[in-house]
Every structure is written in C-alpha cells, then in structure tokens.
Symmetry: C2
Subunit: 146 residues, 2 copies
DNA sequence: ATTGACGTTTACGTAAACGTCAAGTAAGAT
DNA sequence: ATCTTACTTGACGTTTACGTAAACGTCAAT
C-alpha cells in the first residue's frame, strides 16, 4: 500500500505500443498520431517506442479529454500547462485566465448533460407508459379470447 | 404568466434564418447544413425558410447536443426518439436500450468532467502559489532597495 | 529458411462539420 | 428602373482525427 490514491505502477514499468492500444481499446495508429501531434513522447530502443507510466497517464488524459469534447490541440495546451516551468508572471496570469475559461466551459457542459439526462428520463417514461398500455391491451385481448 | 417553466414564445412566432444565426452565434450556412442532415424542417414562403418556435427549440437541442459531444447523426436519432410515433413493442424495447446506453455514456462524461475540473483546480493553485512567491520576492527586492 | 507476430515510416484516403465563394432570386427603398 | 439587402442553391475547400495500405526491419519459434 502506497500513500497515493490510485494504484500506481512502479516507475520503471514500461509498455509497448500494442499493450497500450489494447488496454485502452484504440489502435497503434492512433497512438502514433498523438505522438505526431506532440501529445506523447515515448522513449526509444532503436526505433521501437517504449512507454513509461507517465506516458501512459498522458495517454489516459488525452482520451478523457477527447470524451469531454476537447480537441487534441486543446488537450495539448492543458497538459502543457500542467508541466510547464514557472515562467514569468504575465504568463501565469494568462494561464489563470485560460483556466477560468475552461472551467466555465466545463461547468456549462455539466449543465448541458444534466438537462439532457432529464430529457432522456422523460423519453424513457413515455416509452414505459406506451409499453404498459400495449401490454394491458394485449392482456384484455387474451382474456376476451379465453 | 403561463404554466410552463421557461419563457415560451407564442406558437405563431416565426424567425428568419439570420435571426436564429445571430441569436445562437452560428452562421446561416450551419443552419442550412443541419437542415440538409434532416435535423431541421422549416416551412417555406416561396424559397425563404420560416422557422417556428418548435424549430428553434430543435436547433437549441442540436447545439446543446454538440456541446456535449454527440455527432449530428446521434442528435438526430435522439430527437427522432422524442417525437416518434408509438410504434411496435420491439421498437420501444430497442429505444429503452438505446436510452440506457446514452445515459451511461453521459454519466461517464459527468465523471470525466468532474475529474478534469479537479485537475484544473490543482493547476490553478500551483499557479497562484508561484505568483505569490514571485510577488514576495519582488517585495523583498523593493524593500532592500528602499 | 520461413512463418508469424510485432514493430517501423511514408503516404494517400476518408468522414464529419462546416467555410467560402459564385451566381442567381425576390422584395422593398430610392 | 436600379440598388440594396436578405435569401437561395450548388459546389469546391478545409480542418480534425484518424484508417488503410505499402514496404520494410527484427526476433522467436517451427
């Protein structure tokens, strides 16, 4: 048991490209594409790509960002923020503003999703009503025939 | 004051394509594109498109669906569910299953967003720490010079 | 020695969601 | 009558995010 919340792999664990592809249900082509876009920087043994736990985490972040609806470019920017060097004060202020924007956007999406979930509930209850009344009608027909 | 929650326009209100485009911050091209994809069906006066409050609501739903990350095709399917005719029982059962899938997906996205918001908070507090320590250092320098 | 699994690069293909002209219509103002 | 403004229909262009195919290297097992 370590002090970290999630199960962390030993820092010297490595993964092949197909291992990661299988684990996350994507293709190796996709992983190479992300590297091309600067989202991943695996080490190499000769030509072969070697992925560390850190790269694996980055890949996970990319996939989560995608599900949320960020573009790969945006995901890159956010990850860059995370491990950027301190930099000058102006840069930090700019980052804070960017963060505020993202947060606002995400909060709006939370609302959007909540609304949509409500509507799905509505549609579902309508479905169930219809089904119930159809079954009721069927039962009446059977009992009349019996 | 009507009995409905949101402010509803009189049912005979109409909108032009540019009105809607301006209201929602999109282009007329986009609106026509959605029509092309079967998401909207405005009436016509000659060639000119006339949008009812109902079409406006559909457009709103499309844009919300997009923010959530649905494809236009998915959005179409969902809206079709909403105003589909009762249909046969098998169709209803299929719909219920589809609804379950969407719900699961949306709940996952809620979690994704929550996680991302937490991480943005982390990045932000790091930013603020750095800024604070930079200002402190600046203050020391000024007081030494004074 | 060959087969198969896994890896590589390069390059062209594609679907989605529009953007961007081009060329024309239709209605009202000057 | 023509000018402006808003609207129309094509049709081709663009970006994003990969898919797909070709052509090749590497290593273990048969």
């Amino acid at each position: 048991m370590t002090s970290s919340a999630a199960v962390e792999a030993a820092p010297d664990t490595t993964y092949s490209i197909t291992q990661l592809a299988n684990e996350f249900g994507i293709t190796t082509r996709t992983i190479r594409f992300y590297e091309d876009k600067g989202l991943l920087r695996p080490k190499r043994q000769g030509l072969t790509r070697i992925y560390s736990p850190r790269e694996r985490v980055r890949l996970k972040l990319v996939l989560r960002g995608k599900r949320i609806g960020f573009s790969l470019a945006e995901i890159g920017e956010i990850m860059d923020m995370y491990d950027s060097e301190p930099g000058e004060s102006g840069q930090l202020v700019y980052m804070l503003d960017e963060l505020r924007k993202r947060r606002t956007m995400l909060q709006r999406r939370q609302r959007d999703i909540a609304l949509t979930l409500q509507e799905l509930d509505q549609i579902e209850s309508q479905c169930r009503e219809r089904l119930a009344s159809m079954r009721e009608a069927g039962a009446r027909a059977r009992s009349a025939a019996g």
